[in-house]
């Protein structure tokens, strides 16, 4: 059994050293990385460095070809379902932050099913349940009940909630949970504390070790990411790639996905420390694909229509559409507090049409509860 934890590896790295080595990469390093078939973390550094920007078209073409080979002309469709915006954490970039004095809402069973009816009508089979962190109202019992309530309606259920214990993840898996998304937000240990001054989330290492607990619990898929713009996105992305590389080698039966949330304005929150331009994000997505041919790369409705229409060919494998980031947003209470503003307002059908026009098959179902022994007892 694995008893290692990512912390041991992570603590051997120094943020400033990593940063210096990324910015020291040269055109020569980039060309070397582009010419390889198997690229390592040093190549990844070169590909996310400023020196790689002039090679964006080459990177894009390579990324497109690699993605096509592995994933074909398909795009996985998913949609978030916000269950609650109650949260005891203070996070200085998030609309749900505890100190944001706005009315809170947690969906009841009836309300959840009303929301489910809307997104099912759109054709969704893959759903992502989202909550804030409020252990009294949306703890494990609530989540377990929610999964039980909706599992007959979906082929694939993911969650993006507070970090849990290994046995709790296992408990939810048994109910039919397939994937867990847990973003580190930033790997900058000291600044993490300033961004998360209060609440359970302020414990940096507990969050850092969450993917280890997920791996040990046997959860099928783990989603990683950082909040791009919170700190230097290049350094944060290197640590994400390091984390991914470690996890793939340690929990080799698990599938991995990376998301690219770009810090966006929400009610009463801070502006990005370091802006991530469209071309930076495109470079980053291509760099991930060149580094890892198999990882799923996901893009949300935080990004605008034009960017999404074009980024799909640069390595993306899953996309959300029609998303609301507030509990009840689809039908029950459209005006409740949202986590962040979305930029692509198109309906799922409109996005599906756009995909087809670009030669992609929107995939609504790519999982089945019948494939999980753990859920067979039901």
């Amino acid at each position: 059994m694995n008893d290692t934890m990512f912390k041991e590896l992570f603590d051997t790295y120094d943020w400033d050293e990593v940063k210096a080595s990324i910015y020291a990469k040269t055109e020569r390093d980039v060309i070397e990385a582009l010419n390889k078939t198997h690229r390592d973390l040093e190549d990844f550094k070169a590909l996310i460095s400023p020196a790689a920007l002039p090679f964006l078209e080459e990177m894009s073409q390579l990324s497109h070809a690699l993605t096509l080979k592995r994933f074909g002309r398909t795009m996985q469709m998913y949609v978030p379902l916000y269950l609650s915006n109650e949260c005891q954490n203070i996070c200085n970039y998030c609309g749900f932050s505890f100190d944001n004095h706005i009315k809170r809402k947690t969906l009841t069973d009836d309300e959840i099913l009303k929301e489910v009816a809307v997104i099912k009508e759109w054709g969704y089979e893959h759903v992502l349940l989202v909550t804030g962190e409020a252990s009294q109202t949306v703890g494990v019992p609530y989540l377990k009940h929610a999964v039980q309530l909706i599992r007959e309606h979906f082929a694939n259920i993911s969650i993006e909630v507070q970090p849990l214990e290994e046995n709790e993840y296992h408990e939810l898996s048994v109910e039919g949970l397939n994937a867990v998304l847990v973003y580190q937000e930033t790997y900058h240990k000291d600044n993490y504390k300033t961004h998360h001054p209060k609440g359970k989330k302020s414990n940096f290492y507990y969050r850092l070790e969450t993917p280890d607990r997920l791996g040990k619990a046997g959860v099928h898929k783990i989603g990683l990411g950082v909040l791009l713009g919170l700190e230097d996105w290049r350094v944060d992305s290197f640590f994400t790639a390091l984390h991914l590389d470690y996890l793939e080698k340690t929990y080799w039966q698990t599938k991995y996905a990376v998301s690219f949330p770009r810090l966006r304005p929400a009610e009463g929150v801070l502006l990005p420390k370091m802006e991530l331009r469209d071309k930076d994000l495109a470079q980053l997505i291509c760099a991930y694909r060149l580094f890892n041919g198999e990882v799923e790369l996901s893009i949300s409705t935080r990004e605008n229509e034009k960017f999404r229409n074009n980024i799909i060919k640069l390595g993306i494998t899953s996309i959300s559409a029609g998303s609301k980031t507030n509990p009840g947003g689809y039908s029950v209470e459209p005006e409740s507090l949202e986590q962040f503003a979305i930029s692509d307002e198109r309906t799922p059908a409109e996005v599906a049409t756009m995909l087809k026009q670009n030669g992609y098959e929107p995939v609504w179902k790519d999982w089945d509860l019948a494939l999980m022994t753990t859920s067979h007892d039901h």
Partner: protein, 258 residues
């Protein structure tokens, strides 16, 4: 001029090109390509279809009489999961044919030989026509044959890699000693690879990625059809092997002629 039919289980296939249904840009295009390929056995992932739904896009397009469905267990990690998924597939898709694939490693999708053998044994007992996806491991193929699988499906090279028959030396052994049909699955990236496998004496090949992501999948499907037929015909016509031994005189055996 026809090639010999291939019998697997209770069915005889005129086409020795089996196909997959993933990675196409639309189900309509998939159907056109698979029809053009002449393929009569198409594998479909249980996870991709909604068998309860009569309007399921993939199943609707595979309803043509040319196609026999070969459900696969892609996504399972253990024998136990595979057996359960197989039973669901049998019920939902009304066929006892099964492509058994257990790849607990989602990165390279390499098959787990131990779980595969365990599941195959149980599934055969449950009345399935089992076609297991395995490494080009001759001993494993014999063990699978012993538990009663209908065919073996060794990989040519890593799945989706389009690298061709990197496992050629082992495939030759499997073909030489197998009593059940050998279907080379995975890694076949070009019609020439398919022809090579057929010339070697493989009974069939299974192709997906190379057709699905080609610039023109319909034409590529036809190219594979022709290559498979050509390769098989060459095999049946007893392809002359290149030889470094040809000599006019027989210095070592001349004394026997005296």
């Amino acid at each position: 001029m026809e090639i010999k039919g291939l019998k697997i289980g209770d069915k005889v296939f005129a086409s020795r090109l089996f196909t997959g249904t993933g990675k196409f840009s639309s189900s309509a295009l998939m159907k056109r390509a698979l029809l053009a390929s002449g393929s009569e056995l198409v594998t479909v992932a249980l996870k991709r279809v909604d068998a309860q739904n009569e309007e399921d896009d993939i199943l609707k397009h595979l309803g043509h009489q040319q196609f026999n469905l070969l459900p696969n267990t892609s996504g399972v990690r253990t024998a136990k999961e595979a057996v359960f998924a197989a039973q669901m597939a049998r019920e939902a898709l009304e066929t006892n044919w099964l492509k058994l694939e257990i790849h607990p490693d989602p990165k390279y999708l390499l098959p787990d030989p131990i779980e595969t053998l365990k599941a195959a044994e149980e599934l055969v007992k449950l009345g399935f026509i089992v076609l297991p996806y395995v490494h080009a491991d001759p001993v494993l193929c014999k063990r699978l044959e012993e538990v009663g699988v209908a065919a073996v499906m060794p990989l040519g090279s890593p799945i989706g890699s389009n690298k061709g028959l990197r496992a050629k030396d082992f495939l030759e052994i499997i073909i030489a000693q197998s009593k059940v049909p050998v279907v080379v699955d995975a890694g076949i990236g070009a019609p020439s690879h398919a022809a090579e496998a057929m010339e070697m004496g493989a009974d069939a090949v299974l192709v997906n990625t190379a057709i699905a992501i080609a610039g023109d999948p319909v034409r590529m499907a036809i190219a594979f059809k022709l290559a498979v037929e050509a390769g098989r015909m060459a095999f049946e016509a007893r392809l002359a092997k290149p030889s470094g031994l040809a000599v006019a005189s027989s210095p070592l055996t001349a004394f026997l002629e005296d």
